[in-house]
């Protein structure tokens, strides 16, 4: 029984001619006397028989020329790459990096200076409110031309109507 187990472990290598002479003779002797092991070996032989008869295909008669042509083509590409593209790659990369970083920095600066969305942000609201108020006060005219206040000021200050109607400093 142990003999069968040992033989079966080696059957595949035996079939492939990968056992030494002593193992080969021992397995051959066993196969002559053991029906079960012989049956297993026959089944194993069928595996290779089933995939046998796969024909050989012939390479294209111009196979070598095709390979050489491809090598020439890649050599040309490599030549072009090494002599033209590679020397240009560093300046080109620098220009691209410059453009990208310029765009990034520019957008950050603009975003920090004027972002209308930030007005609606509650976190920024008090500061923004002060700025808006002071801008409104700068353009506020307490005595618009033709108003009572304007007439009053005209009388009390005695100034020319044409020269004083551009805002009042309060």
């Amino acid at each position: 029984m142990n003999k069968c187990r040992d033989v079966r472990k080696k059957l595949s290598a035996f079939q492939d001619g990968e056992v030494n002479q002593i193992q080969k003779e021992s397995i051959e002797t066993h196969l002559r006397s053991c029906r079960e092991c012989k049956k297993q070996f026959t089944a194993m032989m069928h595996t290779y028989q089933s995939i046998d008869k796969l024909p050989q295909i012939e390479p294209d008669p111009i196979f070598t020329q095709q390979v050489i042509a491809r090598i020439n083509k890649t050599s040309l590409q490599d030549h072009f790459l090494n002599n033209f593209l590679r020397p240009l790659s560093i300046p080109a990369a620098m220009v691209i990096i410059g453009l990208l970083s310029g765009t990034l920095i520019g957008s950050l600066v603009i975003q920090n200076q004027l972002n209308p969305l930030e007005l609606s942000s509650p976190a920024n609201y008090p500061d923004r409110e002060n700025i808006v108020t002071s801008l409104s006060l700068d353009s506020f005219n307490a005595a618009p031309p033709g108003s009572i206040a304007d007439g009053f000021l005209h009388v009390t200050l005695g100034t020319n109507m044409d020269t004083r109607n551009h805002g009042v400093s309060l």
Binding site: S12, A13, D16, E18, A43, M44, H46, T47, Y48, S50, I51, K53, L54, P55, Q56, I57, E58, P59, D60, F63, T64, Q66, V67, I68, R70, I71, T74
Partner: protein, 194 residues
């Protein structure tokens, strides 16, 4: 062992390929042409048996030799040329299979999915039909095997390499190659019984 034994001849062939590779590494196109002519048949058939498609086999064989040319400066004479070139071929085949698998995932809904090209230009029409059917049956069997098992079977059965050589190509131990082939044979048996 006599001087003209197949082993000696094989050793001689290996030596020649390695010497040629040294010249190829120095940019010798003549040596490269010789190398292609000597190995094109075995590489083409090896790839065909792995891929099951003649067009892919032809394209990939060219890729293999292109890679040999480009990588020649990195080739170390200590390594067997056959081991090296088979590794290149296997890597390219596995990459191609991966690409095809991804491609097929997207193309499964299309009705005109490309079928493997089996036609191998057999002589008479009757023979052609018979052998094409036989070839299709064999590829049906081989297609059921996982990649590693299929590679091992192809290298052993079709390319006639030893377990030691296969173990070097696949970077596995000899018992691991043995186990791989045992599993492959069991899978083939299962397929035949169906």
């Amino acid at each position: 062992m006599s001087e003209s034994s197949p082993e000696k001849k094989y050793q001689k062939k290996i030596q020649t390929a390695e010497d040629l590779m040294q010249r190829v590494a120095n940019g010798d196109r003549h040596a490269f042409t010789t190398l292609v002519q000597v190995h094109q048949n075995s590489i083409l058939n090896f790839i065909w048996r792995l891929m099951g498609d003649k067009t892919h086999a032809e394209d990939l064989s060219q890729d293999v030799f292109l890679r040999v040319w480009k990588s020649a400066p990195k080739y170390e004479k200590r390594a067997k040329f056959s081991t090296w070139i088979y590794r290149i071929a296997i890597n390219l085949c596995l990459n191609k299979k991966r690409t095809l698998k991804i491609k097929n995932m997207f193309l499964t809904s299309l009705p005109l999915k490309r079928q493997p090209q089996i036609n191998t230009d057999f002589t008479t029409p009757e023979n052609q039909l018979l052998k094409a059917e036989q070839t299709r049956r064999i590829f049906d069997i081989l297609n059921t095997l996982p990649s590693a098992q299929r590679i091992a079977v192809t290298l052993k059965f079709y390319q006639g390499l030893s377990y030691a050589e296969i173990s070097q190509i696949l970077d596995r131990s000899i018992p691991a190659v043995d186990a791989l082939l045992v599993r492959a044979k069991k899978n083939i048996q299962k397929k035949i019984r169906k």
